[in-house]
C-alpha cells in the first residue's frame, strides 16, 4: 500500500509532461484554490470544534453516554465503548485519542480494543462533514441524511462488535 501515493504522483506528473502541461504553474494554481477553500472552511470548523470542546468539558457527553449505555448494551456494544460511539460523529481527533486510550488500557489484542478499532474504522465524523460539504448550499437542512447516517453507524458499530466476537 505504501507504494500507491508515490506512484499516483509519478503517474500524474508523467501524464502531464506527455500532454505538455506546465506542471509547476498548474500545481501552484491548485494550491491557490486550496487556500481559498480552507479559508472558507475556517469559520465552520472553528465553530464545530468549540461546540465539541464544551460538549466534553461540561461532561454532558459523559452524562449522555451513561444514559445511552444500556441501549448500547442491548445492541451488544460494550459499555466501555459507549463514549467512543457517541463522540465519533462529532470529533475525529477526540475519538482518535479515545481509541488510543482504549488500546492502551485494555491491550491492543483484547476484545474491547478490537471492537473499538472496527467501530472507529467504520464510521465518520458526520457533523463535521455535513458542515463542510453543505457550506455553499442554499438548503442547509439535511436532517434526513444525517439521521440515516447516525442510525446506520450505530448498526455498523453493533455489527463490528459481533464480528470481533466471531472472527
Amino acid at each position: 500500500m505504501r507504494y500507491v501515493i508515490p506512484l499516483i504522483f509519478l503517474l500524474v506528473i508523467l501524464y502531464a509532461v506527455k500532454k505538455r502541461v506546465r506542471v509547476y504553474p498548474a500545481f501552484t494554481r491548485g494550491v491557490k484554490s486550496a487556500v481559498d477553500f480552507t479559508l472558507g472552511l475556517l469559520p465552520l470548523i472553528v465553530c464545530v470544534f468549540i461546540m465539541c470542546e464544551i460538549f466534553e468539558a461540561s461532561h454532558l457527553s459523559d452524562k449522555i453516554s451513561a444514559m445511552l449505555s444500556p441501549l448500547f448494551g442491548l445492541l451488544g456494544i460494550p459499555p466501555q465503548l459507549a463514549k467512543l460511539a457517541l463522540i465519533k460523529p462529532f470529533s475525529g481527533s477526540g475519538s482518535l485519542s479515545m481509541l488510543g486510550s482504549v488500546i492502551k488500557t485494555y491491550g491492543a489484542d483484547s476484545y474491547i480494543a478490537r471492537c473499538a478499532c472496527v467501530m472507529y474504522g467504520s464510521s465518520e465524523t458526520v457533523f463535521y462533514i455535513s458542515a463542510v460539504y453543505f457550506s455553499k448550499c442554499a438548503n442547509k437542512k439535511r436532517l434526513l441524511p444525517v439521521a440515516i447516517i447516525l442510525l446506520s453507524s450505530l448498526i455498523s458499530a453493533a455489527v463490528a462488535c459481533l464480528l470481533c466476537r466471531i472472527m
Binding site: F37, F49, I54, V118
Partner: protein
C-alpha cells in the same frame, strides 16, 4: 446543524455555569485553537492534493478517469453534469485508496456543481457515501495498533471492511427508499 449547535452549546453552558464556571472560557478558547490547528493540518493536505489534482485536470487525466466511471455515476446520481460526474468519480477513487483528505475537495466541488442543477438527491447521496466511510484498508487504526504492540495489527481489516460496507450499503438503501416514498406521496398529492 443550527439546532444541534444551539442545543449543545446552551446545555453545556448551563451545566458549566452551575458546576465549573471558571472552566468555561478556557474550554471555548481551547476549542477555537483546536479548530484553527485542524484547519492548518487540513490546509497542508488540501494543498498537496488540490495541487496535484489541478495538474491532473489540466492534462485531461481527470476527464479520462471520469469517462470510465461516468455511465455508472450518471445513473446512480441522476445527473447529466459531466464535471460533477468527474469530481464524484475522483472522490470515490480517493476514498477507496484511503486518502480521505484528498477526497474532500472533490466532494465539495461536486456538490457545488450539483447545486447548479438543483440536484439535492445526488448531493445527499454523495454526503451519505462519504459520511459512512468507504475505506478498503483502515491505515490509521492499523498503525496505532502496531505501535501499541499488537501481535496481528492487520486482523481488523476484514471486520472493518464488512462493517463499513454494511453501514454504507444500509444508509444508501434507506435513503433511496425514503426518497421513493416521498416521490410516491408527492405523486398522490398531485393526483
Amino acid at each position: 446543524m443550527n439546532v444541534i449547535f444551539t442545543i449543545i452549546t446552551a446545555l453545556s453552558a448551563l451545566i458549566m455555569c452551575v458546576f465549573e464556571p471558571s472552566a468555561f472560557l478556557p474550554a471555548l478558547l481551547g476549542g477555537a485553537r483546536k479548530g484553527v490547528e485542524c484547519c492548518l493540518t487540513l490546509f497542508c493536505i488540501y494543498a498537496v492534493w488540490m495541487g496535484l489534482s489541478q495538474v491532473a485536470e489540466e492534462s485531461g487525466l481527470t476527464k479520462r478517469v471520469a469517462a470510465m466511471l461516468s455511465p455508472a455515476c450518471t445513473r446512480f446520481f441522476r445527473t447529466g453534469d459531466s464535471e460533477a460526474v468527474g469530481a464524484i468519480s475522483m472522490n470515490i477513487s480517493c476514498n477507496l485508496l484511503g486518502i480521505g483528505g484528498a477526497a474532500t475537495p472533490f466532494a465539495v466541488k461536486a456538490i457545488g456543481r450539483l447545486e447548479g442543477e438543483k440536484n439535492e438527491y445526488a448531493q445527499n447521496l454523495l454526503f451519505i457515501i462519504n459520511a459512512t466511510s468507504i475505506q478498503l484498508i483502515p491505515t490509521t487504526v492499523i498503525a496505532l495498533r502496531a505501535a501499541e504492540g499488537s501481535a496481528a495489527a492487520h486482523d481488523i481489516t476484514l471486520p472493518s471492511l464488512i462493517a463499513t460496507a454494511i453501514s454504507t450499503g444500509l444508509a444508501v438503501a434507506v435513503y433511496i427508499f425514503c426518497e421513493k416514498i416521498k416521490h410516491r406521496r408527492a405523486k398522490k398529492c398531485a393526483m
